[in-house]
Subunit: 138 residues, 2 copies
DNA sequence: TTATACCCTATCGGATTAGTAGACTTTACA
DNA sequence: TGTAAAGTCTACTAATCCGATAGGGTATAA
């Protein structure tokens, strides 16, 4: 399941990318347009800012704006920041590897290889899709 | 994330499929061999029985056994029974479709098409992988 | 008749998710 | 210089889900 957090994050990014000018947009505007709880969106945008994708400006006339071009922002990156690992099981995660604590041995685990396959496929999509692609296709 | 439920379910099925004879195997044996909480496994096997994949025999010498051949059990089916929808978002689920309650319009949703793509890819893997495949590859 | 093993219901603690509240800081502008 | 607009930060909450557990009930082989 995709969390709302990630979904909202992607929506907010595409919203910003679709604008003509890259001027600060208040959270309230994004929240209203995209039908997102404003307070929740605050924390999401903050994460994206700390990760270097968004800039912000305080005070009147302030808001959030993109720091990168839409075609430079991969879905995979956004997903990892907001959602976490792309793999369905920690023991096949590239960026968040962890041994499954219920599994004595990965080599003999019947699910392991299957999950690697799923990971590779999903990864291929997420790595090859940018915010720009999302805008074009939709 | 893949739940333990599904993971355990797949492990239990492969365990049964790997045996020479298709004779009833007590839950306790499967649980111990595969390192699974026995009580939890009970409910999982019960679900698989009700779905028609396993048969059971009560009393001494009883246990669970496969009702289908290993190459007739698709991962996709097991997944749907134990985990639920394969899609990451309800609005692109084939078997569990539901409108996303936060999304006013699917047609203009920026995430929708992306998630269809992910679903199709994952589905392809799960539909084309059987318990037998899992055994062979591992 | 007894031990074995599945069947069923209920419950529980912990984690996570989505959202809320409220105080604080920075800034534009009248 | 005061005020309203806007982001920042911390804390809290309600709801849900997950994995596991408890315990009694029922069927059956020996």
């Amino acid at each position: 399941m995709l969390s709302r957090k990630t979904k909202y994050g992607l929506k907010a990014l595409t919203f910003l990318a679709k604008r003509e000018e890259n001027e600060p947009v208040p959270i309230s505007v994004i929240a209203e347009s995209e039908n997102i709880s404003q307070k929740f969106l605050e924390s999401i945008l903050l994460s994206m800012r700390k990760a270097g994708y968004l800039g912000s400006k305080k005070g009147k006339g302030g808001g959030y704006y993109l720091l990168k071009e839409a075609d430079e922002i991969k879905v995979a990156e956004v997903y990892r920041i907001l959602e976490g690992p792309i793999a369905m099981v920690p023991c096949v995660s590239l960026n968040f590897y962890e041994k499954c604590d219920d599994c004595p041995d990965e080599a003999t685990c019947s699910v392991h290889k299957l999950m690697i396959q799923v990971r590779d496929n999903t990864l291929k999509i997420f790595e090859n899709t940018t915010i720009e692609d999302i805008i074009i296709r939709a």
